[in-house]
């Protein structure tokens, strides 16, 4: 088969949704061109070796046998944890449908950060914004906590080009309680970049002070830098507080809640918004599809066909403790299922190297490479169309799950 090169390919991995990837496909082999961020290039790249066979307990079997075994195990299990969920929207829909039939919990493996966001957004709400708004309006961009570009490589390039349509003068970027990486610094060249350090574990307090200051109080411990930042935010035309919830620590929910209240207070007199980033491997799509199909934002449990939501009990980390079967889906990358005593059915990336061989392994295709599909960008609003660029004989998660579901009867 001749080598084909596709341009403007949409990258589905981190959630920033870059759509300028160039892919060269030769048979099953894939190379992503220079210019794509390193992480994406690595994740897109495929050796061209044929896809591995499906396996039962490490033994190569036919696809049909593996599907039948998976169906059999589903029937024999009491407590199933559907985990991973690294798949496109159709894959998520299929998993939800199956879980409704078998019973079990459903969660995305990278949802921890998202639930830190929900601690504020679900409880009190927030004013948020999207990439294009930031790109054109934001005159003061405050990075809360660790530099998000560690997870979202090209975030500044995407949302903070040197000029913005409605921004007068140079944009200011302030890192509060974190510092830009070297790569981030180069993306931010030409912008005014400041760092406000906070003591170890002091981010919550710093944001508390900031929140009190913008709302008109003067906390005694607030230092001059925080006071100046409060004044700058009040004077900004469109201030944005951004964070990567997954890279915050266990107090991340408190950090976020305070950042949200800073924005809330600012919007009384000027405009401001949050840019909460969380969205690796279509986490955002899994969240959306679960909401519109089930009514809850992930971490749902199905019991006799009726769904329920519990952010603690149905979190993967807790669910696997109780489960006798884990159904793991990871189509974007060779992510490993969580260690547990439960048997594992792995619908996984073909390159996955397991620590512990799963009971059933079925290799699946990657959305946006092996099949088309829908993923969501990390700012929640924009859907990313993922296309098919090769045929390596790999089925989508949706197809495999549907077949397993049909085989149950």
């Amino acid at each position: 088969m001749a080598e084909t090169t596709s341009h403007d390919v949409v990258c589905p991995f981190c959630g920033i949704g870059c759509d300028d990837v160039t892919l060269t496909v030769d048979g099953a082999a894939v190379t992503a061109a220079e210019g794509t961020c390193g992480r994406a290039a690595q994740l897109f790249a495929r050796s061209g070796a044929p896809a591995p066979s499906a396996r039962i307990a490490g033994r190569d079997v036919s696809f049909e046998e593996a599907v039948a075994e998976a169906a059999k195990r589903l029937g024999a299990s009491k407590t199933i944890a559907y985990a991973g969920l690294g798949t496109d929207v159709d894959g998520v829909r299929a998993v939800l449908k199956l879980a409704a039939k078998t019973g079990g919990s459903v969660d995305h493996y990278a949802s921890e950060g998202m639930f830190r966001n929900l601690a504020s957004s679900q409880r009190k709400g927030w004013v948020a914004t999207t990439f294009a708004e930031v790109r054109n309006r934001c005159d003061l961009f405050v990075v809360v906590g660790p530099d998000p570009s560690k997870a979202y490589h090209r975030v500044y390039e995407r949302v903070l080009p040197a000029t913005g349509r409605f921004v007068e003068g140079p944009r200011r970027v302030v890192f509060l309680g974190g510092a830009p990486t070297e790569d981030a610094k180069s993306q931010l060249e030409g912008l005014s970049v400041e760092i406000i350090a906070t003591p170890e574990g002091g981010l919550v307090d710093a944001l508390s002070q900031l929140s009190a200051l913008v709302a008109g109080s003067v906390p005694p411990a607030a230092g001059p830098e925080i006071k100046a930042l409060a004044e700058a935010l009040k004077a900004a035309r469109y201030g944005v507080l951004a964070w990567s919830a997954a890279s915050l620590d266990d107090d991340g929910d408190l950090v976020i809640e305070r950042a949200v209240s800073v924005v809330d207070a600012l919007n009384v007199t000027t405009r401001a918004a949050c840019l909460p980033l969380s969205g690796k491997d279509n986490l955002t799509g899994a969240y959306h599809a679960t909401l519109w199909n089930v009514g809850f934002p992930l971490r749902v449990g199905f019991r006799d066909g009726v769904s329920d939501h519990d952010q603690t009990a149905y979190a993967t980390a807790n669910a696997v403790k109780e489960a006798d079967l884990v159904v793991w889906t990871s189509a974007f990358r060779p992510e490993l299922p969580p260690a547990s005593a439960a048997a594992v059915i792995a619908l996984s990336h073909p390159d996955t190297v397991f620590d512990t061989e799963p009971a059933v392994f079925i290799p699946v295709g990657q959305p946006g490479l092996d099949h088309q599909g829908l993923a969501f960008r990390a700012d929640s609003v924009v859907g990313l169309p993922l296309r098919r660029y090769r045929d390596a004989g790999l089925k989508s998660v949706a197809d495999v799950v549907t077949l397993i579901s049909e085989a149950r009867a």
Partner: protein, 552 residues
């Protein structure tokens, strides 16, 4: 699919001038055929004592998209309290004002609705909305793309690019988002709020673009008229919910200069400032203007008492309303140089002067607008109330005693300020068939929906002719979707999926060069990524593209 013959029913088909004619209705191959000439139906449904109507169509109900998901997120208590029980056709959803896709389809179908349109499809979120609509069973759907606050358009208008360029852009957006019509929400106001403007009246200039809502509105009215869209501009006007907005609404009607305009949830735009509370009904004035201007159609956005959640692209208004959120939480979002959204949970209280008067204003509009072909039965689901209150609303319109009984419960001050008690009109069954079927089909340009003539799709409903009209319209005896029985005795009995309706008027591809540059520079991604491909709608199956004057 086998043919079905419905016998002995009283057929109510205002589109074809049939009111209460006892005749057979035959559906074959998913479409209605001439009953007289057809033989060989394998299934017969005896509709004796029943009324046969076309499937109902809701032209304005927020059933899908990012803002619907935010309502679900914010109303987790409601979700927990309303779980779909296990059943053969269970999608395990739930909710009431925040129904899941599955529950939305079920609840609409049980009432005899077979087509529902999402009136606020923010272009940036269109792909999400379509994915979600795919999961709504039973219903034909479609979205109205929200324009009029998008920076590209405002730039186009303010830079004097001309009507033709606007027309091309509108056509491009309709095609790119697979939309059925164009919606404007608070023209220019959502955009102005991003520049920290808190209020924008019809003739007030946007702080950045220096163009007024009037200019935006008239330019887009011209665009859809010249593109030949069946559905006129679907307008959520300026100053939603602001006392005194009746003047803005009247000025907006005058601004159309005779061109067609659909004004949505007009109840929220019919407020005066009389009385001690500086809040009064403007319904009489608005109805008079609607009666006098045949180019205007409205839907009401009736308010019903109880918990709901308000979801709107109008962040300017919703930010204003955040203080009255109940439960106390709300979400706002600026979206992609395109629009915004604001979600505010709310409880309409019978004892509240303002809420009770809102209820009365809605009914006044229903009863004072004379032409049933130009008024539509909506609660602006979920903003005024969940759509499941429609049967109650129908009874309020059809049954004066029932209406008076409810009116009597309102606070005295409200009764003093409303003429609902004096209005004698009772809607006839035929008028209900018009406002829920024939007229919606007409305003959307459907030739094969909303009626029971030969060639129409086989979306047919049989209601038991119950003098309690609320009971009658709550659960249909039979609902057929494309000839398939989906509801029997008010219960779902089989699953079917509808189609997605869209228009695709032709445009000068020159606009694409501009848009490519706009996306690369302003949006930071590619126009071709933004555009939704045909195969993304219902997996490439089930899209219907309607003809326009300037068709592709």
């Amino acid at each position: 699919m086998s043919a079905v013959r419905i016998i002995n029913g009283r057929v109510l088909d205002p589109a074809n001038g049939e009111s209460s004619v006892v005749r057979d209705v035959v559906i074959d191959g998913g479409r209605i055929v001439d009953a007289k000439g057809f033989s060989g139906a394998t299934e017969t449904i005896d509709a004796r004592g029943g009324v046969v109507m076309a499937g109902a169509i809701d032209i304005h109900s927020h059933i899908a998209g990012g803002k619907s998901n935010i309502t679900r997120l914010l109303m987790v208590e409601e979700q927990r309290a309303n779980r779909e029980p296990k059943g053969d056709f269970c999608g395990c959803g739930g909710g009431l004002s925040t129904m899941t896709a599955h529950a939305t389809g079920c609840r609409y179908a049980e009432m005899g609705y077979t087509a529902v349109f999402e009136p606020a499809m923010v272009a940036a979120n269109a792909r999400h909305m379509h994915a979600e609509m795919k999961d709504i069973p039973f219903l034909d759907t479609g979205g109205y793309v929200v324009l009029g606050n998008d920076d590209f358009l405002l730039d186009l208008i303010s830079s004097g690019a001309g009507q033709q360029a606007v027309n091309d852009y509108v056509a491009w957006q309709l095609a790119a988002t697979k939309a059925m019509a164009v919606k404007i929400v608070n023209p220019g106001g959502i955009n102005a709020f991003k520049f920290n403007q808190r209020k924008l009246d019809l003739d007030e200039a946007n702080p950045h673009y220096e163009i007024t809502p009037r200019t935006i509105l008239t330019t887009l009215i011209k665009a859809v008229t010249e593109l030949g869209l069946a559905h006129p501009i679907h307008l959520h006007g300026c100053n939603l919910g602001v006392p005194g907005n009746e003047d803005t609404t009247l000025a907006t009607i005058a601004a159309t200069e005779g061109l067609p305009l659909h004004m949505t949830h007009v109840q929220f735009h019919s407020y005066g400032t009389e009385g001690d509370k500086k809040f009064s009904s403007g319904a009489a004035k608005i109805a008079e203007a609607v009666n006098a201007n045949p180019n205007i159609s409205i839907d009401v956005g009736q308010v019903m008492f109880g918990q709901t959640v308000t979801a709107s692209a109008d962040l300017m208004s919703q930010h204003r309303n955040r203080g009255i959120a109940s439960p106390k939480r709300w979400i706002g979002m600026d979206m992609e140089m395109d629009a915004a959204c604001g979600i505010v949970p709310f409880v309409y209280k019978e004892k509240s002067f303002v809420n009770a008067l809102q209820w009365a204003i809605g009914l006044e509009l229903f009863l004072l607008v004379e032409d049933p072909w130009r008024i539509f039965l909506t609660t602006d689901h979920p903003n005024g109330a969940p759509f499941t209150t429609y049967p109650h609303l129908i009874r309020l319109l059809m049954d004066k005693d029932f209406r008076d009984e409810h009116f009597a419960r309102l606070p005295k001050a409200v009764r003093k300020h409303s003429i609902v008690g004096e209005l004698k009109r009772e809607y006839t069954l035929e008028e209900i068939a018009i406002v829920t079927r024939a007229a919606p089909a007409k305003i959307l340009g459907f030739k094969d929906r909303g009626h029971l003539g030969a060639g129409a799709v086989g979306d047919v409903v049989i209601y038991r002719d119950d003098p309690d009209r609320e009971a009658m319209f709550t659960k249909a005896d039979y609902v057929l979707k494309n000839g398939q029985v989906i509801v029997k005795d008010g219960e779902i009995v089989s699953i079917a999926y509808g189609q997605t309706h869209q228009v695709a008027p032709d445009y000068d591809t020159g606009i694409e060069t501009k848009l490519d540059r706009w996306f690369d520079e302003a949006m930071g991604f590619k126009a071709k990524t933004f555009k939704i491909a045909d195969d993304e709608i219902r997996d490439g199956q089930g899209a219907v593209t309607h003809a326009t004057t300037r068709s592709a």
